[in-house]
Symmetry: C2
Subunit: 397 residues, 2 copies
């Protein structure tokens, strides 16, 4: 490295927001203010979409008090996007970044955000434009390679585990079959986290289905039958991303069967959230499949956007870590480094996290699946510290 | 009144549980222990269903510590039911109550629970069996006559208002049309409470639809169009109980159109919760109705059972009041009175609630609708103290 790189910083937020993505934004901003080589801090409005049209907010003068309030606010204060920039888009973005003398680039998002950061880094290098680019991790899906876990996951896991705990008490009160559909397109981490709701034998969720394992409707109905016969009730958690043996999304199969409006989004993804179709389909199948047992009460809920946006219920550990990954990204960039920030965990009983900077290529566009071994009880040990405890509850007997 | 009535007490929980219905149960139990004329406290398992088969839990020896933990636990610790006892059922129940020397009867529930209590009271009087019967109010629907509000409503309102606040931030991040379906079969109190999510001009929810006013799909689409053109996005809250001009439930209309399995429950009610069909129908209508505006992102969530069962997020005011109505019920019964406990509110700026005992007949089987005048800003003044504050949030600009 020659003379110390000096210039402006750009920060953006991308993909599905979380309740702690603003913690990372605030972490970047407050750390950037400490480094003299960073002159101005530009906030890209709606991520790469804003960068393409030169739409930046000036973050130099936002008060510390307001920053603190924003950090506690769900969703992306700068605006987010579902934009997957092409090579041509990235060239436009780099032009704008150069024109704004951006030398430090921080992009908060998931594996797709790591990918666009990686592309822009490659273009900058080719163009011999010196720049540090750091991807700041964020995703409730928890599917980032090289990471023990991702910021956003702990809070979403806390929400779904608490929700299923309450739902299980509700189901004990008025027994029946209850099915909850949980977010997670390609990885079942969040759905798996519902197991934290269980405290003792007989507690729900009694059945959990992840996208990583093929979902057979016949096997599913046999499972529900077995649980219902044993407990006189059943609480079931299903990932929105469950697939059949051929790897096809059940949500897509159902939409095609019902001739619904089937459309993929800008990422080439089929819409999973924001519809109750999967839960409704499965409850209908349970009603008819278990009719001989006289199961009359079958209900399905789709937890939907609340999982990633419900305020006032974040995991304190997750909030702290999300702030810290933003700060660390700036420190690494000011040390002349580019890459993706990853949270690692030290071996041992106590929860001891630490941060590492890993190559962008190792995270970009990749998906970390739930490994087989994580089916309880080790998953509980993995997940509980990230969630930071659940509200206390008790039975009469 | 002759000599002081002495005997056992029976307490039961009924209908859709809430996160504070156990507060009322614990209120009854702890107060009953203070009154010597109450010998044993019997807890009816699953409400009148348990009473019909003599299924009672002994609540004499549950520790104060466990009672406190149960009070903080969502749903009905004794079990609840959706059972609407007939006259013949009530005769069976009265037999069991007499055999168990029950002289004090406390039933925690909504207007249907007041009704069964009223029927049993009438039968006991006719049979010259001396008994005090007090209905303890509970319902997230907030539709009890003679009451300013009902226990359970404040916490459910807090949950939905916070959820919509978070959802609105999410929608600001990635603009589009977001529709949330809220519980409330006959009364729109809970749906109206989502207006607490608004802090300033432009905040959602931008549109709110209650069951009390006929819902026209043409008017609805015109409303959404107007809002979307103004803000470039729209957050909409719709009660599950919306009806057409003829008074027919939209949920039922949609089910009939799609030839879905249309069945009424034991109360003669059509199933509204536990399905995403209404939200899915309305989002499809928005997509096609607003296609010319290029609205691509339309999402629907149905908040479902989380509204009444989510732990760790109750309103402190609601918790306190739910406990107090249970205690007051016992005190009135021990003073020789029967009736339904109602929460009233003193006129004036500060929130000052007080309790009253009103005739069972005035509450039994009746529905309190949201009056027209409660469309903001007076509804905010009504509702905010019951919710006990929302998590603090902030925008960048």
């Amino acid at each position: 490295m020659a003379a110390k790189l000096t210039g402006n910083a750009c920060v953006g937020q991308s993909g599905g927001p979380t309740v702690v993505i603003n913690q990372s934004l605030v972490g970047v901003v407050e750390e950037a203010r400490k480094h003299k080589e960073i002159r101005s801090i530009l906030g890209a409005r709606h991520g790469t979409k804003g960068m393409m049209i030169d739409d930046f907010a000036n973050l130099n003068r936002v008060s510390a008090k307001r920053l603190e309030a924003i950090a506690a606010t769900p969703a992306a204060a700068l605006g987010s996007c579902r934009h997957k920039p092409t090579e041509a888009d990235c060239a436009v973005i780099l032009d704008h970044l150069r024109n704004n003398n951006v030398r430090f680039y921080f992009y908060i998002g998931g594996d797709d955000s790591a990918k666009s950061t990686h592309i822009i880094a490659g273009m900058a290098k080719k163009a011999r434009y010196e720049m540090r680019l750091v991807h700041v991790p964020k995703t409730i899906d928890n599917n980032l390679m090289e990471s023990d876990h991702a910021p956003g996951f702990g809070s979403a896991a806390r929400f779904v585990a608490a929700a299923v705990r309450g739902d299980d008490f509700d189901n004990k009160s008025i027994p029946g079959v209850k099915l909850d559909v949980i977010m997670g397109r390609d990885a079942g981490w969040l759905t798996a986290a519902t197991m934290l709701a269980r405290e003792k034998e007989g507690d729900g969720p009694h059945l959990i289905y992840l996208p990583e394992r093929p979902f057979s409707i016949e096997k599913f109905l046999a499972d529900v039958r077995r649980v219902y016969k044993k407990y006189g009730r059943a609480v079931i958690c299903v990932s929105e991303g469950i697939r059949d043996a051929g790897g096809k999304l059940w949500a897509k199969r159902i939409a095609e069967e019902s001739q619904a409006d089937v459309k993929d989004d800008a990422f080439g993804h089929f819409q999973l959230s924001g519809t109750g179709a999967l839960a409704d389909y499965l409850t209908v199948r349970i009603k008819s499949g278990l009719a001989d047992l006289g199961v009359s009460r079958v209900r399905g809920d789709t937890f939907g956007y609340l999982q990633r946006s419900f305020p006032g219920f974040a995991s304190a550990v997750d909030q702290k870590e999300a702030r810290e990954v933003g700060r660390a990204a700036v420190r690494w960039a000011c040390q002349g480094k580019s890459g993706s920030v990853a949270i690692k965990r030290k071996a041992g009983k106590a929860y001891k996290p630490y941060l590492a900077l890993v190559p962008l290529a190792k995270v970009a566009g990749k998906n970390l699946e739930v490994p087989g071994k994580y089916i309880c009880p080790s998953f509980r040990r993995y997940c509980l510290p990230l969630v930071g405890g659940l509200p206390k509850t008790a039975d009469l007997e």
